[in-house]
Amino acid sequence: MDLPLFEALNQAIVPAAGPAVVSHGILVFVLAPDELLPTVRQLRDVHGFDIFLDVTAVDWIGQEPRFEVVHHFYSTVHKARVRLKLRVPESDPSVDSLVPLYGSAAFMERECHDMYGIRFRGNADLRPILLYEGFVGHPLRKDYPKQQEQPLVPYRS
């Protein structure tokens, strides 16, 4: 945990939702959807966060906005991690893609689109990566029936 770095980041990046907090050694920012790209660009270009670790989502079913998209970044300079969280509604679950900034984001955004149906604006290739063509729905959404199968081969009777 690098506290001077975290204090500097908190001075430099102040999202509308308030300052970041440290959770399990990771600095956590809560952002509005339109704050994502400027924040990530600043993290990468100014503060040396050169590795995009993952993007995933959380389905807070029953809450509004329903989905929380979570990005993780790592800095090989500072050996520190940052997490960005933002909420998107079920009616339009789309956020900006990070492919222009981190090429490695392409596959992880495809997986997140598979599992949660988050649309990433700017990612031109959102074909299924872990699922298959023809799969209906998004299996890690909480309202996907737990035992629903979509077999590709017809079952023997």
Binding site: K146, Q150, P151, L152, V153, R156
Partner: protein
């Protein structure tokens, strides 16, 4: 425990250096030859592969049952060993591999995932490969002990030896 199907030497036979002979039935002879000539094709997808390696290696040694040499083309194999979890995405590949094998062919479901899906019951896993292809022998366990695999191979051998062999006909 297992039926004796080896060729039988008559009890009155004296080993005196003269012409030695044995009597058997044609179908028993063919069955005896076939059951020690299993050519497995390992369709290995998951962690059961470790146990497959253990049972193939010298301490347990499936070569004693004539089932040692894995064929790496299904067209040369007659035993399809499905070792590990098969997903819905994998099922068309499994079916294609099975359909490429020549008759006669047998299928072994190795481990509980191939048998029934095991503890997977979700959007991804196929609940048992017998939903897609016919299975001759099921080996439960997560993973199965090598002894269970050998027991399964021996039961399959009995099934092979006791089955009807199409090459035994009136012209044979």
């Amino acid at each position: 425990m297992y039926a004796r199907t080896v060729p039988i030497v008559p009890a009155s036979h004296q080993k005196d250096g003269a012409f030695e002979y044995l009597t058997t039935r044609k179908d028993e002879l063919i069955g005896w030859a076939r059951k020690f000539s299993i050519f497995p094709y390992p369709f290995v997808t998951a962690c059961c592969a470790m146990e497959f390696m253990a049972v193939s290696a010298s301490p347990y040694d499936t070569d004693r049952f004539g089932a040692a040499l894995p064929r790496f083309s299904p067209r040369q194999a007659d035993l399809l060993m499905v070792v590990g979890t098969v997903t819905h995405k994998q099922a068309p590949i499994l079916l294609k591999v099975y359909e490429q094998m020549c008759e006669p062919k047998w299928v072994m479901a190795f481990g509980v995932c191939a048998t029934s899906g095991g503890f997977y019951q979700n959007y991804a896993a196929l609940p048992g490969i017998d939903k897609v292809i016919p299975v001759d022998i099921y080996i439960p366990g997560c993973p199965p002990r090598p002894e269970m695999v050998i027991d399964g191979i021996m039961q399959l051998q009995e099934k092979i030896a006791g089955s009807r062999h199409l090459i035994v006909n009136d012209r044979f």
